[in-house]
């Protein structure tokens, strides 16, 4: 009886290591134990194969869903913002030592179209180099005026509110406009600029 107890516990103990799980049973010293070990190994192989097959299936579904999302996103954009009239407004931040962004307010031709409040996570993503598409619009060809107001905390954690404006020409084809927040080391102040992308 002793032997059986010991082999059971020993098998359990030695079946793992510190770095990762080893699934194989310990060699046992009886016929029954050997047969049990063989069965366990076969079951392990079967389970591993089954996992792999399911995992492959999940992988292919992930691809399918991502492709579907891509197509849906494209379709949504084409339906809502046809290329001829599409204008996209992006917010970016370089360094961000003198300004911590809370919100951006956008007016196009005097009409407020977006007022976006940033979460801490989003503001952090901006500071690390992310670019946020804050608004999409359909505009007719011709001259338009954009006014952006940035609200947040400036140097010495004081409330800070600054505006920037630009007149831009909307031609045929999509137009991208970037609202850029940069640090002016010379002035020890943030700077706000709007620029057009080709």
């Amino acid at each position: 009886m002793t032997k059986i107890f010991i082999t059971l516990v020993a098998a359990m103990l030695l079946a793992f290591s510190l770095v990762a799980t080893a699934q194989e049973a310990v060699p046992m010293d009886s016929e029954a134990a050997l047969a049990e070990a063989r069965d366990a190994a076969a079951a392990e192989t079967k389970s591993r194969d089954e996992f792999r097959s399911l995992d492959s299936e999940v992988q292919s579904l992930k691809k399918e869903v991502l492709d579907l999302n891509r197509d849906l996103f494209l379709l949504e954009e084409e339906l809502l913002f046809p290329a001829n009239s599409q204008v996209a407004f992006f917010v970016s931040m370089d360094v961000g030592e003198y300004f911590s962004l809370d919100s951006v307010n956008i007016k196009i031709d005097g009409k407020e179209v977006a007022n976006y409040l940033y979460t801490e996570r989003e503001a952090d993503a901006l500071m690390r180099g992310g670019v946020h598409r804050v608004h999409m619009a359909n505009l007719k060809t011709g001259e338009h005026e954009l006014i952006a107001v940035f609200v947040g905390k400036g140097p010495h954690v004081r409330d800070y509110r600054r505006g920037a404006t630009i007149s831009f020409d909307k031609g045929i084809g999509a137009k991208y406009v970037e609202l850029e927040i940069t640090d002016s080391v010379k002035k020890q102040q943030p700077e706000f600029a709007i620029k057009e992308w080709e």
Partner: protein, 622 residues
């Protein structure tokens, strides 16, 4: 656009090094200027660990050819994000293509390392081994150690103990990694039957002075492993030494106590064996060592001729096993009903997905205590990740299905707006005779040329000037002014003066006025060209718009069946994944139950033997 602080090629690999949410700060990386806003947009989501939106944005930008400035970096970022999202096969395809090219060797090696690690966790041992083999140079020290340990672990899993031992042999020194290597070498030696060699290594580890929880756990583990190896090898006296070094409270204490007892029992010191076993019986019955002690105690008592006490303990053990077995049955029932996984999904916030996610708390309930150690296995964890990811995919598709109607409405609205506008546009186009306008323009050009060549200054007079000129010439021709009287001669002189002044002014302004007219004509010409171009665009739009609508209709109305098909596939995959996880969990619980069953049978058999002996001795005394 802004200059990112991290060179993107390093970025995704550094992200893999770091734990979720941890920036790879301090790495010396080159800055890069983001030249495509869509690339920055993908980064915006990536930095928030929202991998699916980030991947989709990048795929969309690729499809729209808006990543011309970041083509290679975008692919690498995509590969990194696929890995983060747990889409490792797709990631590997990208990396295999890109890593063959002009990528810095350290980045390439790190990427192979992480692929190897992910594949190992997912049970793709062959792929994991191949990925490790692709590492050409030296990795950073911590990764180098982990990679070597991973390689050895793959060999141990494959039963290639000799290779594992050889792979681990180079580890020298007193570092933590060197200790792990020793332990794994010890395990591999035990498994290949080289007990005495294993003894040296495990004894060394088992005697180390622990300075933190990790080294204390390693010391206990080595001692237990060595103790049981020696017990198996028939050296109970030697086995006691390492087993007694294990802490009394800790994850390995139950096994050590049981082992010490068996070592004494092997040497027929049953009274001594009872000391650790009696300590065990008050502990958690979930532990197999505790279960085994319930049988070991009466076994020792019987050996000490305390038959009556042994019978009591066997009866207690049978009762305890029965109750534990019932609890296991209830847990198996709970898992088989699917409620466990339903609760898991219901409680899951789905705020992150992919490779980094791990289950930190099991759903509360009596069954949780049985499942904790299941979570330590890669297969269950990875299976649960897949189940969770499938749930995420399912919710994603459900959300899109809600929007299919909106898409259809948008399309129909656009079609309607087009249909309403088309007759108005056609009517306006009919009225606007562009050819006639072009002819007029050419005719104006000719007239102006004539005026210039004939210096016809009067043609460029303003209306007021022209009226004045007419008035003067009318006055000039009037009989009164023509009369041969002194007063008329005086008026004639004044008329001549006026006429002369007007002519002089018109001749003076002729050049400037001609220039203005030429400029106006030029602008008219440009406007005419623009109008012609617009007209061509309108004609083209009128020709292509119905085709575009047809293509959009095909896409929009093809959505619902496509989404439904995918939803069905996901649902079926979720069922299969759940069945697989249930099978693992129930298999584990069933094994515990079977063990209790074996113990129960042994207890009953021993009890029957005791009763038999008792009745035989009663009969013989009668």
């Amino acid at each position: 656009m802004r200059a990112s602080r991290s060179f993107i090629l390093r970025l995704c690999v550094l992200f893999l090094v770091a734990a979720p949410g941890v920036q790879a700060a301090g790495d010396q990386v080159e800055p890069v200027v983001i030249k495509d806003p869509q690339f920055g947009e993908a980064l915006f989501h990536f930095y928030q660990e929202d991998y699916v939106p980030a991947i989709v944005r990048l795929l969309v930008a690729k499809e729209q050819n808006r990543l011309s400035e970041h083509a290679d970096a975008a692919d690498l970022l995509l590969g990194g994000m696929y890995l983060s999202y747990g889409h490792h096969l797709e990631a590997a395809e990208i990396f295999e293509d890109l890593l063959a090219g002009n990528v810095a060797p350290d980045i390439r090696d790190r990427t192979w390392f992480f692929l190897a690690k992910i594949w190992y966790q997912r049970g793709y041992l062959d792929k994991s081994r191949d990925a490790l083999a692709n590492i050409a140079g030296a990795l950073p020290e911590n990764l180098e150690n982990e990679a070597a340990m991973l390689g050895a672990q793959i060999q141990i899993d494959a039963g290639n103990y000799a290779q594992a031992i050889a792979g681990l042999a180079n580890w020298k020194g007193e570092t933590e990694w060197a200790r792990y290597a020793k332990f794994n070498t010890g395990v591999a030696l035990v498994r290949s039957g080289r007990i005495e060699e294993a003894r040296v290594l495990l004894d060394e580890l088992g005697s180390l002075e622990p300075y933190n929880d990790e080294t204390a756990a390693l010391r206990d583990k080595a001692n237990v492993a060595l103790g049981y190896a020696l017990l198996q090898d028939g050296q109970p006296l030697a086995a006691k030494i390492p087993l007694q070094r294990v802490r009394l409270e800790g994850p390995f204490s139950n096994k050590a106590l049981l082992g010490v007892g068996w070592a004494d029992a092997e040497m027929s010191s049953y009274r001594r064996a009872l000391v650790p076993w009696m300590e065990l019986r008050g502990r958690d019955l979930l532990d197999s060592a505790v279960q085994e002690s319930l049988l070991a105690i009466p076994y020792a008592m019987a050996k000490l001729d305390a038959i009556s006490q042994a019978a009591d303990h066997y009866l207690n053990a049978i009762e305890a096993f029965h109750e534990e077995s019932n609890r296991l049955d209830r847990t198996i029932g709970f898992i088989e009903s699917g409620d466990f996984f339903d609760q898991f999904i219901a409680n899951d916030p789905l705020n992150s997905s992919g490779w980094y996610w791990s289950l930190e708390a099991l759903p509360e309930g009596p069954e949780s205590r049985y499942l904790f150690h299941l979570l330590a296995t890669h297969r269950f964890q990875e299976g649960l990740k897949n189940y969770r990811d499938l749930n995420y995919l399912s919710r994603n598709i459900e959300d899109w299905l809600q929007n299919v109607d909106v898409f259809e409405n948008m399309l129909e609205t656009r079609k309607e707006a087009y249909a309403q506008r088309l007759p108005l546009v056609e009517a306006a186009l009919e009225q606007a005779d562009l050819d006639r306008m072009v002819e007029s323009k050419l005719s104006f050009d000719a007239t102006v040329d004539n005026i210039e060549s004939s210096f016809d200054w009067l043609s460029l007079a303003k209306k007021s000037e022209f009226d004045m000129w007419d008035e003067i010439t009318d006055l000039e021709r009037s009989p009164a002014v023509q009369a041969d009287i002194p007063e008329a001669a005086e008026v004639r002189d004044k008329v001549d003066l006026l006429k002369g002044v007007l002519q002089w002014n018109l001749e003076r302004d002729f050049k400037e006025r001609l220039g203005q007219i030429r400029r106006d004509l030029h602008l008219s010409g440009e406007a005419l060209v623009e109008t012609q171009r617009s007209r061509r665009q309108i004609d083209e739009a009128m020709r292509t718009e119905p085709l575009r609508f047809q293509a959009l209709s095909d896409r929009v109305y093809g959505l619902a069946p496509r989404l439904e098909g995918t939803r069905m596939e996901i649902s079926n995959a979720m069922i299969r994944q759940r069945e697989f996880l249930q099978e693992i969990a129930v298999g584990e619980l069933q094994a515990q139950k079977d063990r209790l069953g074996v113990y129960s049978v042994q207890a009953r058999f021993a009890l029957a033997a005791i009763y038999d002996i008792s009745s035989s001795s009663e009969e013989s005394s009668k």
